[in-house]
Symmetry: D2
Subunit: 286 residues, 4 copies
């Protein structure tokens, strides 16, 4: 069983040692280790991917919990194989309804074989949508839309979420959240073609470049963001010369983005692709 351990701490002294010591002591095979030390942000993190017999998972989890308690590190143990048949998604959104609704509908209609126990948002607007699909709605924003990132992490744990789907969620996740759910668990929909149009206004940027093709990108978010390498799905549409920007955005948001994200999430849930050493890899057919 392939297991991902992530650890996060306030300094780099003793971050890796107890975890790696335990893991190697148990005879686990280490498949990948990545560490991160950004002194300026006081963020020290590690991802450790290992192979163990499935029967050992619970014991490993217990051991890591104890290490976490002793050391004060935030440690998580997770495997994509745990709930492979029906993983649990958190859908994160803000104001725009098209993409989160598309995910909820695909889950309801069977296109995506998963459950959505929770919809998380920094704005109240889409609470009725969550209710419509029987998902809990958790508000993490204050009045101005600023998100409580610590609360989001807490919610992801409480609802035992496997994958976080950012469906036009208009906040940037801090590196600490990305590291805690590292290993291919955070799926984002960017409303432009990456890597060419990375900013906040990709429709405007592509339109300003007088392009006639517009696109969306579904990708894993990894802690140090060099988006582009982690593409899961891209989808485009073309318009005729003279098409107004409003119409471009309308097509993009209502048709192209939902289809792009839904197919991307499906690829992950159906285990067609996964994140391997910072890159999306297609799983070989059995």
């Amino acid at each position: 069983m392939e297991v991902v351990i992530t650890a996060l701490g306030p300094d780099n002294v003793g971050l890796a040692d107890p975890i790696i010591h335990h893991v190697t002591g148990q005879g686990a095979r280490i498949a990948e280790i990545q560490m991160y030390d950004h002194d300026e942000e006081h963020l020290f993190a590690m991802l450790c991917r290992i192979d163990i017999p499935a029967t050992e998972f619970d014991r490993l989890s217990d051991a890591m919990r104890q290490i976490g308690e002793v050391t004060g590190l935030a440690i998580r143990v997770w495997s994509s194989e745990l709930r492979a048949e029906r993983p649990r998604l958190a859908v994160c959104c803000t104001y725009l309804e098209h993409t989160p609704r598309a995910i909820l509908e695909a889950v309801r209609d069977g296109g995506i074989n998963a459950d959505v126990p929770v919809v998380i948002s920094n704005r109240k607007k889409l609470a009725p949508m969550a209710a419509e699909f029987g998902a809990a709605f958790e508000m993490i924003g204050d009045g101005q839309g600023t998100s409580n990132d610590a609360l989001m992490v807490e919610l992801l744990d409480r609802y035992e979420v496997d994958y976080v789907v950012l469906a036009r969620y208009m906040r940037i996740l801090p590196p600490s959240t990305c590291w805690q759910f590292a290993g291919g668990r955070i799926i984002n929909l960017h409303h432009g073609l990456l890597p060419g149009f990375p900013g906040f206004r990709p429709y405007h940027d592509a339109y300003g470049a007088r392009m006639l093709t517009f696109g969306a990108t579904c990708h894993f978010i990894i802690p140090e963001l060099d988006a582009g390498n982690q593409t899961i799905n891209q989808r485009t549409f073309a318009v005729s010369p003279g098409t107004k920007l409003d119409e471009v955005i309308r097509i993009g948001e209502s048709e192209n983005e939902p289809a792009c994200l839904t197919e991307g999430v499906r690829r992950v849930i159906d285990r067609e692709v996964y994140l391997h050493f910072h890159r999306v890899v297609a799983r070989k057919a059995k």
Copy 2:
């Protein structure tokens, strides 16, 4: 009638004066003038777009011919309205057959309402294709594929070509050729999405950026190449993660590029779009 006059000369002394003097003396309305002086390349050029009664076209052409003879300038007079019902295309190509063949087939089948009197190439390979469609084949390359650009210009005049279609023609047109056929007469197929992937290996570049969407761009070439603003048509296709580059290129060359170029040329021939002050503009429906 909208008429485009282009002039090219070896220095900038007296380039514009005789032409503009004549044109304003005849009472023509000047819609656009662009001049270019690049001392380092000894290239001085002008584009002048004017409105005149259609009955004046021949007289203007004669006058410009005389000015050209006296001054030594290379002057051309052209109007998209001259042969609007059935313009004449030159198809320029090198080795790759998909895109030039697509144009020839679309012309034969009526998708593009034009004639192709000549296929121009810097390599012999596609001579049989020209013969198959009843077009003359003109070779402008030496043994190494280096093109005789002056001969190309001569051929475009001799065959009374309205539009030059670069269908994976693998040479860069020199600025002097671009200026002589300025005003929206040179249509290029670039095998990548502009402006993001402008180079010689756009499939490789997009693949290296780990994109899952690839595209082609049909655009007017203008003398000072800031490609991107002159897009006539763009077309894309998506692939699954894990698709090999060979397969990407195969789909792109055999399916996407031909469809992209054919539709782009059709838009120009059907007068849906035209070049206006360096930008592609959609003609308002009547």
Copy 3:
């Protein structure tokens, strides 16, 4: 005498005709014409550079004034040779004092052979600086710093300004202003190396790219902004690894930018460089 005529109008009908007709009728040699038509912005403009005997300048100005009155076009006639011995500068600024003060000091101390009749700003802060150097201070900002661009143009005319020096003036000039003073009359100080760092926060961007060299660029502003081609002067400084961003900005603003802009303005005023067909050219030594 080389004369620049600029014209600006609300539509492109009849913009160029009367001016060009008059100019060619007088036998002037046309050295350069550029026209601009951006339907979306309702901005139609022309720059026309001609050679005439100096004795004809006043007559030309009168004629253009009359054409302007009749047609409603905004027409300007200017020659860099008019006040070549001691041109008149407008120094435009906002909050930062280092660069405008450097220009005023260089003028006072003789490093720049020019006069500064007016300091223009969208903020009140630097009014005392203008007073200190005996220049008028003209406020064009409302309370929020939004500039009255039409008033700026009026002031530039009223003070008979030859060159506009943007010394950390933190507003973008609209295209209409750029066109009215086209031909190499607007000199900007950008606080980053162009073309690599074009944005609003070039120190932050270069620092984020972990560079150890930072720079400033003095350049002509031309109507369609492809900054980089119009560089008059660039100046850099290096820092040691570990230098804080604050210190980088302090050195840049207090030492590097003033020196960069002062030398750039001097080059223009001393007629070492000029703008020729959108490019900066070094004037040949006599």
Copy 4:
């Protein structure tokens, strides 16, 4: 003592396990682990930075040698503290003499406190320069200049080299070489300002962008090349408008590059900077 262990293998099975197992078993503190798996290139690598008592260094080296022999991995153990007083440099070069000579002179004159036991080149041209400074000259190129990268690694080991200085060495090091000397041991001189001008012709590119400032960058090479983050030193020079490219290159190669590289190498040798989690960090003054 901070020790860097690098390991390289043909597959990722069992790459990390024996090394990490040994290290943790000995009680070493793990400061950094980075792993790399690029299936397409069959390259699997690890960097492991640990803290041990200096007295343990030899024992660790022995253990790693044994693990290497048993597993077939290429393992290296190194510490910057080993020969901190006088580290050993390999100077790698091709045709251009300015930068390698500058290093050799600085070493001779005491500006750089190091020894240069060997000059390595893929061309014979600079053999006399090596002789002049009493360094061995090792040729790793075939007749066409293609380098024998395996031989280079062998030579670096044979001459017990601490730091590899690429002084206009015109070959790209393969990732396997970069990984084997990871951890801040390979210092490159790039003849342009990074990250803006990364290519093979940075002088031409900057000149083509009509810049008036040109620069050079001294940086660590890290295995996955996102050059720019690893800058050790940058140095620039400015030219007047109208300066020819030949003159720019002459100044750059003969004056700016040697000074840039010499100061960069000095900073590393004097332990002012080091590579820490992919970034250059200034060592705090004691």
